[in-house]
């Protein structure tokens, strides 16, 4: 009866194999093309040497730094928010609140960035309200600087962090918190001993999800940042469009990809983090 089994295994292999091959081809082929481009016709490392030269290394580090800071700010906001929604908010408002918090996820992020231009501009909402209330005499320059860029980043990526962290936060048994309080824990100990150990995998997963996207973001620094806020994505785009130096652009992309993948793999070695990442 082995033949029937072998036939069905073969059929299953073909049925599964076709879409898997297509998926791999579509996903990996551009990367291969890009990689071939980056090493150029002569199998050289010139493009890579330029990509990690001090001039561009600064931009790379700045991008990664922005990623770290924005991710940190998002987590700092998401912790109290998700704690409150998961454990203190009356159950019947919970879903509505969660949907409201994650509403920006459903909008195009270019539009989201421009909404902050409208709010922060000299003639924008915030300045108009503040001047008419007499809080400030002259409109402030809130746009096209670090502040506006960071606000835009936090606004756009906070929903991802909230959603990811919420899953772990909700799984945390509230009675553990009560038990710790009952045994004399201060709020600080409560956070360090009970809340953090239970939610850390969720927090790391959230960080891994948004960190690379922030560091590699193009629209937010372009729309809300100032002339000094040059991030890696702008550099790569410039290399492609303005200098038409495909090899260099590709090499830059791969250096960035390598940094991100190393961080991801590092995080994913923790089994609990892998568990949290599975939902994405």
């Amino acid at each position: 009866m082995g033949t029937a089994d072998e036939q069905s295994t073969l059929r299953e292999g073909v049925i599964a194999g076709v879409p898997v091959s297509v998926a791999i081809a579509v996903g990996v082929l551009p990367l291969i093309v890009l990689f071939v481009e980056s090493i150029g016709p002569g199998l050289g490392t010139a493009a890579y040497q330029e990509a990690v030269s001090p001039l561009y290394r600064g931009t790379l580090l700045y991008s990664l730094g922005v990623g770290v800071v924005v991710t940190g700010v998002c987590l700092a906001i998401a912790y109290p928010v998700t704690y409150w929604v998961a454990h203190r908010c009356p159950r019947r408002y919970r879903l509505a609140l969660l949907v409201t918090l994650t509403l920006p996820l459903w909008l195009n992020y270019v539009v989201l960035n421009y909404s902050w231009v409208w709010i922060l501009a000299r003639g924008g909402l915030l300045n108009t309200v503040a001047t008419s209330l007499g809080l400030i005499a002259e409109p402030l320059d809130l746009l096209y600087n670090d502040i506006s860029m960071f606000i835009g980043f936090v606004y756009i990526y906070l929903p991802y962090v909230v959603l990811t962290l919420y899953v772990s936060m909700e799984r945390l048994d509230y009675r553990l918190i009560e038990a710790a309080r009952d045994l004399g824990a201060t709020n600080r100990r409560l956070f360090l001993d009970v809340i953090l150990p239970s939610t850390l995998p969720g927090a790391i997963a959230a960080a891994l999800i948004v960190y690379a996207r922030i560091a590699g973001a193009f629209a937010t620094p372009a729309i809300l940042g100032g002339p000094g806020n040059v991030m890696i994505a702008s550099l790569i785009t410039e290399a492609f469009r303005q200098y038409v130096d495909y090899g260099f652009a590709a090499a830059l992309s791969f250096v960035f990809l390598a940094v991100v993948v190393v961080a991801l793999l590092g995080g994913a070695t923790i089994p609990q983090v892998r568990e949290e990442l599975r939902q994405w």
Binding site: E178, L183, V194, P197
Partner: protein
């Protein structure tokens, strides 16, 4: 000495008075049970005592000191939660040490206290295990040790055995009693299981609709409950309504089961008044007596058999009989003898005598 006192505790959720003017005291070293059907407010009362919830009115005292405004972490009470909530990221020993660490006890003292407490609950060999590696009963012992380690004045237990199976529950009940005696700590034990409460507690408070309906020793509550609710909640009871015909040291009541002489049970009854008489199944002797009736249903309960008897004079009585009791008399007058002489059968005629009855509030 009074260890814990609740005085006029009231807590309202919306329009509902979850806890309504609750008042009781727990003595030093006493095992006190707070029982009632689910939703009666017993867990809310416990949370008010633990400081996990704030009362709308009333005072909580521990050792005579008013602690109503103290948060849970400052109170000399510890709580054992329903469903075994141990800190999952800590070992058994770390769980037990947690309260001591928060209190700032030096590490060396802490280690010896943790050892002592784990020995008390017979879990010494599991000190380095993770909570997830333990069985339900073992987790419950650790939860108990964690709450006892800081030597609280009163231990508050919220249905700690409800998630265990029946055999383990019985074993743990005996253990709780032993640990309570050995630790010489006052226990306030909340449960909906009247059997556990009666087997463990020195005194029991019965709650219903946010109010305490009766407080007393288990035998007093079982034999002489003040109200019909308490009588029913603590065990099987037949409550008959009747008219008082005579009052002396006992009250003679004319009921559907015939004339019953009942203990007044602290109630002032007068002739011609309508009263309720409570009769426990074991207070009815089967085989002799002036009351006659017919078995309409029966059930085998292990060490005894229970029957519902329709009385000739109307009304019903629940009766019990052990295996060695006098045989019932069949409808045709023959004794029901044979392979199972103790068994009731539907249609059997029985003679009954009520040996004990008490007046209760309807």
């Amino acid at each position: 000495m009074t260890a814990l006192a609740a005085d006029g505790l009231t807590k309202t959720f919306g329009d509902e008075r979850a806890v309504d003017d609750v008042e009781f005291t727990v003595d030093d070293g006493e095992f006190f049970a707070l029982i009632g059907p689910s939703g009666c407010g017993k867990t809310t009362t416990l949370r008010l005592l633990a400081g996990l919830s704030t009362p709308d009115a009333g005072v909580v005292r521990v050792g005579g000191e008013d602690i109503t405004d103290q948060p849970a972490r400052d109170r000399p009470t510890n709580m054992v939660f329903q469903d075994l909530v141990l800190f999952p990221h800590m070992t058994v020993a770390e769980n037990v040490a947690y309260g001591l660490k928060q209190a700032g006890m030096p590490a060396a003292d802490r280690t010896s206290r943790v050892e002592d407490t784990l020995a008390l609950v017979e879990m010494s060999q599991f000190a380095d295990r993770d909570p997830t590696q333990l069985s339900g009963g073992q987790q419950q012992r650790v939860a108990l040790a964690r709450a006892l380690a800081t030597e609280p004045d009163v231990l508050l237990l919220d249905e700690p055995l409800s998630s265990l199976d029946r055999a383990l529950r019985a074993e743990m009940e005996a253990e709780f009693r032993r640990i309570q005696r050995d630790a010489a700590t006052s226990f306030l034990y909340v449960t909906h299981d009247q059997t556990s409460a009666m087997s463990m507690a020195d005194r029991i408070a019965v709650m219903r609709d946010g109010q305490i309906r009766d407080i007393g020793a288990p035998d007093r509550l079982y034999e002489r409950p003040q109200t019909r609710f308490v009588a029913d909640f603590l065990g099987d009871a037949t409550v008959l309504s009747g008219t008082v015909t005579e009052v002396d040291s006992t009250v003679t009541v004319d009921t559907p089961a015939g004339t019953v002489r009942a203990d007044p049970n602290g109630q002032a009854a007068s002739v011609d008044e309508t009263v309720s008489v409570m009769i426990r199944p074991e207070s009815v002797t089967v085989g002799t007596g002036s009351i006659t009736g017919t078995v309409i249903d029966h059930a085998y309960k292990g060490f005894f058999e229970e029957a519902t008897v329709e009385l000739s004079s109307g009304g019903q009585l629940t009766v019990r009989r052990g295996e060695d009791s006098t045989a019932a008399v069949r409808a045709d007058g023959s004794a029901a003898v044979g392979s199972d002489p103790g068994a009731f059968a539907v249609g059997d005629s029985v003679r009954l005598q009520i040996t004990e009855a008490v007046l209760v509030e309807a």
